[in-house]
């Protein structure tokens, strides 16, 4: 019996490996990304391929994308999805791939700006005319308000939402990122920060506890929450990625308004090369080229046009009406980076679990 099974297993493996012939130094690139970057990377890919062709005698690489919840995508890459680059919602998810042995340690310092070529922030989407008069974070804990946000256990966006709310209540320090000097200073402050009192802030905890009492549904991803709010008509406020809010506003004309809170978090969705995969497939040069394109001026322009905040402040200033400057605090300075924040707030038994055990 065992021998027979062994033979079958071997022949199955042979068949399977036959089915996926090794692509010798192929011109294909797979970008595994998260939910709400679909529109952004469709445009980036087109522009990148055209740009690459002019620099490489008309060669056109075949760039493909995959989108789903950020945590799920990290898991898929660890489990064997052959990504050349990952462009995820937060550093913790890329760290998960590092622990899976596919990306080298220190990835975040390989590219400039913490390997995040663009940033975003967290804003509110409310129904037309703002009937519940939601102006700032403080309004979200009023008893008659229903708030829609995804589940931080599965959604990267939801984790940014959670920390933005916490940081507001804990009154952590915000910075002006529309000005290049101040942005550099803020990044430096993040690198030098040693103490993170926000973790134990009682006001932060009380505020987030009250906030989640007003949440009737926790979808598993950011797109799911947008659908719940926009199509199912649930809730008075959607806490959302800035670009998701703009997309929803454009798609459902005259139904929603965007509200910018007094302060929010600087969300840095990072990008990285999947070292093990590019070395096996011989696509490292192409992957590096692709990520560098994101930092180029045409790349930054596409980023801004898709409602993400470009790092290039000159480009950002051209979009100042749609990407208004509000004070933003950083996860590095206020919470000591993702590793600490993930462990303290979102792992099993963390603050998020405790909140629901109290609320119950």
């Amino acid at each position: 019996m065992n021998a027979a099974l062994g033979t079958i297993a071997v022949s199955l493996t042979a068949v399977l490996s036959f089915a996926s012939p090794a692509r010798a130094a192929s011109q294909a690139l797979l970008n595994v990304s998260y939910d709400s970057t679909r529109e952004l990377y469709e445009e980036i890919d087109q522009a990148f391929v055209a740009d690459y062709a002019t620099r490489h005698a008309g060669q056109k690489p075949d760039v493909q994308q995959s989108h789903a919840g950020s945590g799920k995508q990290a898991r898929a890459v660890v489990d064997g999805l052959r990504a050349d680059v990952v462009t995820l919602a937060l550093g913790a998810d890329i760290d998960a791939i590092v622990k899976g042995g596919l990306i080298n340690e220190g990835w975040q310092s390989e590219l400039s700006n913490n390997s995040s070529p663009y940033t975003s922030t967290i804003v509110f989407l409310v129904r037309k005319g703002n009937p519940k008069a939601v102006k700032d974070w403080g309004d979200l804990i009023k008893p008659d308000i229903k708030v829609i946000t995804p589940n931080p256990k599965t959604s990267g966006g939801a984790r940014w939402n959670f920390l933005a709310a916490w940081g507001y209540a804990a009154q952590v320090k915000g910075h002006d990122f529309s000005n290049a000097d101040s942005a550099v200073a803020a990044e430096k402050a993040g690198k030098e920060a040693k103490e993170f009192p926000a973790f134990d802030d009682a006001k932060g905890k009380a505020f987030v506890e009250a906030l989640f009492k007003n949440v009737p549904v926790l979808d598993s991803g950011a797109r799911g929450s947008t659908v719940t709010f926009a199509q199912k008509g649930l809730g008075d406020v959607l806490i959302s990625w800035e670009n998701e809010a703009w997309l929803a506003q454009e798609e459902y004309k005259d139904q929603f308004e965007i509200v910018y809170p007094s302060v929010s978090i600087l969300a840095e969705p990072p990008v990285a090369i999947v070292d093990k995969n590019v070395d096996e497939r011989g696509t490292r040069a192409l992957a590096e080229d692709y990520l560098k394109f994101l930092y180029s001026e045409p790349g930054q322009e596409i980023i801004a046009a898709n409602h993400y905040r470009p790092r290039d402040t000159a480009v950002l200033s051209r979009y100042a009406d749609k990407l208004p400057a509000i004070p933003l605090f950083t996860i590095d300075e206020s919470f000591g980076g993702w590793t600490n924040a993930q462990k303290h707030f979102f792992n099993d038994g963390g603050v998020f679990d405790q909140i629901y055990k109290v609320n119950k």
Partner: protein
């Protein structure tokens, strides 16, 4: 073995070998992997994982709503099957075909249909009551099972038995209770068991209507996904073993419920003899 060797059908060894191999490949090996993965946790970790408040509450919702849906389908399905077989009325064939719709419909389509109804129809919505919404969707998903298992038995049913009972002075209730139902019972209980098993595993449609709130409106599969996507902790431990442990316990619970249902069936047959 003696009985088997006397079999007149040729090819016994080959077909038995194939059956065992096939079942092992498709069922036992994947389930074995589930057990092995769960086994990487210590007993203590395993116990605390599966007895966590959120996990217990998800078991209650998943199993409770499935049992409720199976029970309601047990009663209503029997009635529908009875009407479809016993009465002739215009549109009967159409209604008969409609029964299969929940089988044919992709579960996500069912989910989005219900989500849309709950969103637009206030009296069906019952805002916030996830038990109600989950049970309603599960009733839909499990609807055909009881009907389709009971129907053939009713069709083959010889009405002369009923006439005999009537001539002996039995009233309609007695006839149903003592004559008809005992014959239907094995088919009926396996229909209920199938509907239950289907509901416990249902994911695609339920996620559209349940709130996914930990400790309140999360079904077990949602919790499993949540554990699965948890990033590794500082020791590189992921949530995979926790996820499989929760799955393993759900498997054991629903297996025991199915065993109980089968035992009821077995005992009732033995009682007949």
């Amino acid at each position: 073995m003696a009985v088997l060797r006397r079999s007149v059908l040729p090819g016994f060894r080959l077909s038995l070998g194939y059956t065992v191999f096939y079942l092992s490949l498709m069922v036992l090996i994947p389930l074995g992997a589930l057990v092995v993965k769960s086994g990487t946790l210590s007993w203590h970790d395993f116990y605390t994982t599966v007895t966590d408040d959120f996990v217990i509450s998800a078991y209650k919702l998943s199993l409770g709503a499935s049992l409720a849906a199976a029970a309601i389908n047990g009663v209503m399905g029997l009635l529908v099957a009875w009407v479809l077989v016993r009465y002739r009325f215009p549109g009967r064939k159409i209604f008969d075909a409609i029964v299969d719709l929940p089988f044919a419909l992709p579960t996500a389509v069912a989910g989005i249909t219900f989500a849309d109804i709950f969103a637009t129809n206030t009296w069906l919505n019952a805002y916030g009551n996830d038990w109600y919404r989950v049970t309603l969707v599960l009733i839909f998903v499990g609807l055909p099972f009881v009907i389709r298992t009971v129907q053939p038995v009713l069709q083959d049913w010889d009405t002369e038995t009923e006439q005999a009972a009537m001539s002996l002075g039995a009233g309609p209730v007695t006839i149903f209770r003592r004559v008809i139902f005992p014959v239907l019972f094995p088919a009926w209980i396996s229909g209920v068991a199938l509907a239950f098993a289907r509901c416990v595993g249902e994911y695609g449609s339920v996620i559209f209507v349940s709130g996914n709130i930990p400790g309140k409106s999360q079904i077990v599969p949602q919790l499993i996904i949540e554990k699965l996507y948890l990033p590794p902790d500082e020791n590189g431990v992921t949530g995979v073993a926790h996820a499989t442990s929760i799955g393993l316990v759900l498997l054991l619970i629903s297996l025991s419920i199915l065993l109980v249902l089968n035992a009821i069936d077995y005992l009732s047959r033995r009682h007949d003899r």
